[in-house]
Symmetry: C2
Subunit: 329 residues, 2 copies
């Protein structure tokens, strides 16, 4: 099954750029301290973990949301925004909207982690639920926009979102430079729709970029190998990586990834759980399943490490019972 | 029961100073990036959490150990060091010793968390075990020093250790200043023997300092109220806060705390567990029981908050099974 991106949702035809990433990074720097870049030794080599789970909403998504919402015109801001998200982007948009006084409606899957639903509502956003298997979230958002007006803030298929997420790469470059290290020469990113991967590809133009997806939700990996956008085949395929459950990447993301020769890597449930436990024991960070995919690829030996490898720990929003089960397992 | 500090272990009669804290902070800054200072909103007020659990050894103890070991003479360094610790100081000393090529022996309780014992040995230190209830760790260390020579690196009763731990306060002041905030005007610290509390009292001379201890191990609280050093009465009193299980503070710590009018607050097991869960859900940080005591005091409403309150999240070394049990509880 191939889902076509609904054209009315493309908020802009412009391509994201490195200059845009740098502008986003400057705006983010005014608001948020850099997240730590934590060294982790693996078999005698040091990798650099970008702890995005320490962002105020517990994920890197606050970056793109802030860049997008601060670029709205006063008229657009007054009309409000509609976000589409499994939870982390939801919180990012809701957080930015609250801070800027912009009305926000977020389309979220009904089976999103309770913590993510509650946190989004607590930030003052209206949440509209959809069924992940039987409904298209983009179609639900399109209907809302047709009824109410406002601006779509897509979770990944948007040049502002891509540029905003890329600001993590600008920070990492500065943090490595402060330690006297050139790089990164390799970036390993958790990948859902490809917003973060594309942003980091722009931010780190000299680095090898690897996008890591969970088993069953490997559409970007297959798309990059095939040279065309393919979709997830079984939308009911079970995964714990709710943050990476995107049916299909968008042309704006795919174009960046393809131009940079990005390749995909797929990790299993057990590899992700192992990485979450490693983050617990060695970094003392709570990382959600989708946020641990990149580290999982490294720990599972699925990537030949570079000299200065950047790994995203992209989110930490996981229900405590679920986390306890994974730790004990 | 009152234990007297064995005089031969007093590594120096000099008092710790703010100038010493500043010198320690400069040395630490050459080696380690600042740990994040994370805002946390509580009932509409923001407190500032110093995430020391993100240090390379998972606790602030790396600060004092680095300050002490880098000030050894070449002859002292060659003769090695002996540390005494429930686990976090052990790792701090072992980490610094490994980096500096100094032989290290650490006296640790036989019931220390497995993770702490394993991590200390993995850093190359020799571990000598003692029984927390029937033996005095200071006596075991004194015997080792008499047999082997070397320099004692006490976990708290040492001017270098106090100054080194205080470097966290120098960082916090700079981090608040970068956000345009004067302060801290209040520092709430997890307290075992009083090394961190005394260091922060020196680092933040204008702040109110509150030392938080776990139920049953409240000797500093009682000592400050009584105006003289008292000991823990029941060394078998159960607590999950292994990092704060110190039988008695030392005169060098007590003098600083008393001069600054520090007062103690005591938290229960359930209050500590609640704080650990809050750190998980809201900050995505793994905090061990002893590292969550200060936050527990705030969340339990046992402290009237200041305008700019600094709270230490002082360590994150907790066994995964234990943590899972606490999360699920």
């Amino acid at each position: 099954m191939t889902q076509q991106s609904p054209d009315p949702l493309l908020s802009s035809a412009r391509a994201p750029t490195l200059a845009g990433v740098e502008r986003a990074a400057a705006k983010v720097a005014e608001l948020l301290p850099m997240t730590p870049l934590l060294p982790l030794e693996i078999d005698g080599r040091t990798i650099w973990c970008k702890a995005e789970c320490l962002q105020p909403v517990g994920a890197f998504k606050i970056r793109g949301a802030w860049h997008r919402l601060t670029d709205l015109t006063p008229e657009q801001a007054a009309a409000g925004v509609v976000g589409v998200s499994s939870g982390n982007h939801a919180q990012g948009v809701a957080w930015a909207a609250k801070r800027l006084g912009i009305p926000a409606t977020i389309v979220m899957p009904s089976n999103a982690p309770r913590m993510k639903l509650a946190a989004t509502r607590a930030l003052g956003a209206e949440v509209v639920l959809y069924d992940r298997v039987t409904e298209s979230r983009d179609a639900v958002a399109a209907k809302l926009l047709a009824e109410r007006g406002g601006t779509l803030v897509h979770a990944y298929g948007d040049p502002w979102i891509i540029e905003g997420q890329g600001s993590a790469g600008i920070e990492a470059r500065a943090q490595l430079a402060a330690r006297g290290i050139a790089g990164p020469d390799q970036v390993i990113a958790c990948c859902g729709g490809g917003g973060l991967s594309a942003g980091l590809a722009l931010a780190c133009p000299d680095a090898e970029i690897i996008a890591v997806e969970p088993e069953g939700w490997d559409d970007v990996t297959r798309s990059l190998a095939a040279g065309e956008i393919l979709s997830v085949e079984d939308l009911a395929y079970p995964t714990e990586c709710d943050a990476l459950q995107t049916p299909q990447t968008w042309p704006i993301n795919f174009a960046v990834l393809q131009a940079r020769g990005v390749r995909g890597v797929v990790v299993t449930r057990d590899e992700v759980r192992h990485a979450m436990r490693a983050a617990f024991e060695r970094l003392h960070l709570v990382v959600e399943p989708g946020g641990a995919a990149a580290l999982a690829a490294v720990l599972a030996g699925k990537v030949v490490l570079g000299e200065a490898t950047l790994v995203t720990l992209s989110g930490g929003n996981v229900d405590p019972q679920h986390y306890a089960e994974i730790l004990a397992g």
